[in-house]
Amino acid sequence: MAEVIVEEKGGKKKAKKHPPRLDMTPMVDLMCLLITFFMLTTALSKPKVMDITLPDKLTDPNQKAPLIAASRTLNIILGPENKIYWYPGTVKPEDYNNLPPVFETDFSATGIRQLLLDRNRALFRKIADFKQQVISGKINISQDSTESAIRKLKTDDDTGPIVLIKAYKKANYGNFVDILDEMNICGIARCPFVDIAWYEERMVEAAAGIAATTTASSN
C-alpha cells in the first residue's frame, strides 16, 4: 500500500491534513534492476538431448558384422569444411586403383535432406500420413504410443535406405550432430555410425583435393 493511514491520538494534537506519503520511486527503481538482472541471467530454454544408441562392439574375431544389401546402402562421409561426401553401394578394398568417385553435398535443405528424402520417400510419407491422422483425430491413440507406433513403422520398413554414417578425421562434432538430426528429420530407420575405412579416406581426399596421408590408418 502506498499510503499509511495515521490514526489520530486522543485529539490532543492537531489532526494532520495530509497523511504522510511514501515515495516509492527508489523501490520501483530497485525492482526494475532486479527484474532486469533475473531476466538476463535466467536460462529460459533448457538444453535438449538427442538419444542415440550404438551397436555392440565386435569383440569376438569370429563374429561378423551383419550383412546388408548393397542396393539399399548409402554411405555418408562427413568431410572437412562442413561438406558431406556420399556414394551408394559398397566399395571393395581390392579396387584400390579404381575407386569410384564420391558425390559432394552440404547440410542445406536442398543438399543432404533432399537426397535422403528422395530415397526414403515411401517411409517418410507413411510416417507423415500417420502423424497427420493422429493430429486430425482419425486415429485415436495416446501420446505415448505415437512414438512407439512410429518406431514400429520404421522397424517394419524394408525399402528405405540403410545409411552408413562415417566421419573423416577433419570433421567436427557439429557435423556429427547435424547428420544424426537429419536422419531424424527424414525418418531414416537404419543409420548406424561406423568407422571410416582407409579406402574411403582416400576417396574423400581425392574429392576434396587434400594430399593423401602417408600413414594410412588400418581401422
Binding site: 500500500m1 502506498a2 495530509h18 506519503r21 516509492m24 520511486t25 523501490m27 520501483v28 525492482m31 526494475c32 532486479l34 527484474i35 533475473f38 531476466m39 541471467t41 535466467t42 536460462a43 530454454s45 533448457k46 538444453p47 535438449k48 538431448v49 538427442m50 538419444d51 542415440i52 544408441t53 550404438l54 551397436p55 555392440d56 562392439k57 562427413l78 535432406r113 528424402l117 520417400r121 517418410f124 510419407r125 507423415a128 566421419a167 573423416y168 578425421k169 577433419k170 570433421a171 567436427n172 562434432y173 557439429g174 557435423n175 556429427f176 550432430v177 547435424d178 544424426l180 538430426d181 531424424n184 528429420i185
Partner: protein, 212 residues
C-alpha cells in the same frame, strides 16, 4: 520548532499497482530461475530438432571443448540428495591410491560445474580456495590408452549409480577425433545408449513437395 513549509503540491502518481506488478514478476523470476553455472570451457552446442529435455539427475555429462579437452560433471551442478559424487571420488581415489578426506569430499560434492582435473592433481584442486587458482588445474581429463582416467571415472560412476545416463555436450567446432575417442571409450565400457546435448531448432519439411 519552525514549521516546515510544504511546497505547492505536485500531482501525485499512485505507484501501488506498478509496484504490485513488479513484485509478481520478480517473484516469478526468482522462483523459476536456474542460474547458469560458468563452465570451464566455452561451449556452443549444435542445434537439433529433438525435444527431450536434459535429465536433471542420474546423469554424467562430458564436456568436449573446442580445443579438445574433456571435462566431466555428475548430476549437472550441485549434488543431489543421494550423494553419489563423494562416493565416486572415493572409489576413484582407491583405484589410484589417493585418500580424500572429509573436507575434500565435500568440496567435490559442492563444485557447481564441470571438472577436468587429472586425478593426481585432484587433491590440490579441491584444497585451492580461489576460483582463479582452480582454473589452472582444469587441463582436461587424460584419456589416452596409457592413462585412461576418463574410462575409470565412467566405470566408477556406473558402479556407484547403475542408473546413470551418459550425456555428451560438445562444441560445434570440436574436432571429430576427440569425439570419436570418447565414443569409443563409452562403447568399450558397454555404454550403448547415450544422449547428445543440443539446442532446439525448428525444421520444416514441405509435405506437398515430397508427395509429388
Amino acid at each position: 520548532m519552525p514549521k516546515i513549509k510544504l511546497p505547492t503540491k505536485t500531482p501525485h502518481i499512485d505507484m501501488t499497482p506498478m509496484v504490485d506488478t513488479f513484485a509478481v514478476v520478480l517473484t516469478f523470476l526468482l522462483l523459476t530461475t536456474t542460474m547458469r553455472q560458468p563452465e570451464p570451457a566455452n561451449v556452443d552446442t549444435p542445434f537439433s530438432i529433438s525435444e527431450t529435455p536434459t535429465p536433471d539427475f542420474n546423469s554424467m555429462t562430458f564436456l568436449l571443448s573446442p580445443d579438445g579437452k574433456v571435462f566431466m560433471n555428475f548430476d549437472n551442478g550441485p549434488d543431489t540428495i543421494l550423494k553419489f559424487r563423494p562416493k565416486i571420488l572415493v572409489e576413484m581415489g582407491k583405484r589410484y591410491g589417493i585418500e580424500f578426506n572429509e573436507f575434500e569430499q565435500r568440496e567435490f560434492e559442492k563444485y557447481p560445474s564441470s571438472m577436468g582435473v587429472p586425478i593426481t592433481q585432484m587433491k590440490e584442486f579441491l584444497n585451492t580456495k580461489e576460483a582463479a587458482g582452480r582454473k589452472n588445474f582444469q587441463t582436461g581429463i587424460p584419456m589416452d590408452s596409457a592413462d585412461n582416467q576418463l574410462a575409470m571415472w565412467i566405470q566408477y560412476a556406473r558402479t556407484v549409480n547403475p542408473n546413470i545416463q551418459a550425456c555428451i555436450k560438445g562444441d560445434s567446432k570440436t574436432e571429430f577425433p576427440v569425439v570419436k575417442r570418447v565414443l569409443d571409450i563409452l562403447q568399450e565400457l558397454n555404454v550403448k545408449r547415450y544422449s547428445l546435448i543440443t539446442n532446439l531448432e525448428g525444421a520444416k519439411i514441405n509435405l506437398e513437395e515430397i508427395q509429388q
